[in-house]
């Protein structure tokens, strides 16, 4: 079956602009996770959804970052007033259950470059 997909695969923007990154999870997976991976580092947890609600958003670095999952399927990560330090690969994953112990299936990521 189809895996997790993320669009766009690459996004280049200018400092101060607004961006949206989209994630399509595996059909039927109730949990969806967002991570950020900077160069040379492991993925860093940002937020996860159980259904439509954000179950844990403690990893969001500041209030410029926001994510939604209005119908419990597709999710959008939104970044306002982008900064050069936001440049990274943004990863999305989904799992059947909502526990961190469940196997997560990752998408290929969106590479964000802020000039």
């Amino acid at each position: 079956g189809a895996g997790v997909s993320q669009t766009p695969s690459n996004k280049v923007t200018e400092k101060g602009k607004y961006v949206e990154l989209r994630c399509d999870p595996i059909s039927g997976h109730t949990a969806l996770y967002w991570y950020r991976q900077s160069l040379g580092q492991g993925p860093e947890f940002l937020i996860y959804f159980q259904g439509t609600g954000a179950a844990d958003d403690s990893g969001l670095p500041n209030d410029r970052f926001f994510a939604v999952r209005p119908e419990g399927s597709v999710s959008t990560l939104k970044i306002q007033r982008t900064e050069r330090g936001d440049s990274a690969v943004y990863l999305c994953a989904s799992s059947r259950g909502g526990s961190f112990t469940d196997t997560q299936y990752f998408g290929p990521g969106t590479r964000l470059t802020v000039l």
Binding site: G3, V4, Y35, G40, Q41, G42, P43, E44, F45, D56, S58, L91, A93, S99, F100, T101, T103, Q104, Y105, F106, G107, P108, G109
Partner: protein, 115 residues
């Protein structure tokens, strides 16, 4: 609170020789431990996971890992390396049942396979 340390940022082995990727963790509760692999331009893929059942865990592609509570280690091994094993490997820890459940990725170990 939990943390994870991957002791080597790079490991080089010859094809056909054993692989050892080291990982140490700390956890306040009962940890779940994972190893993920990331091939260039591909999404993260789960190799194996430990969730308090058998301490020796077998994964895909001939990899296995042993949970050693006394040493707080979860090293990844494979008896014989193959060229296709060249990739980045991440050790991951998550607490089960803690009030402050988090998922933490290590910084990664890049495995190089020499012909």
């Amino acid at each position: 609170a939990q943390s994870v340390t991957q002791l080597d940022s790079h490991v080089s082995v010859s094809e056909g020789t054993p692989v050892l990727l080291r990982c140490n963790y700390s956890s306040s509760y009962s940890p779940s431990l994972f190893w993920y692999v990331q091939h260039p331009n591909k999404g993260l893929q789960l190799l194996l996971k430990y969730t308090s059942a058998a301490t020796l865990v077998k994964g895909i592609n001939g990899f296995e890992a042993e949970f050693k509570k006394s040493e707080t280690s979860f090293h990844l091994t494979k008896p014989s390396a193959h060229m296709s094993d060249a990739a980045e490997y991440f050790c991951v820890v998550s607490d089960q049942g803690g009030r402050d459940d988090k998922i933490i990725f290590g910084k990664g170990t890049r495995l190089h396979i020499l012909p």
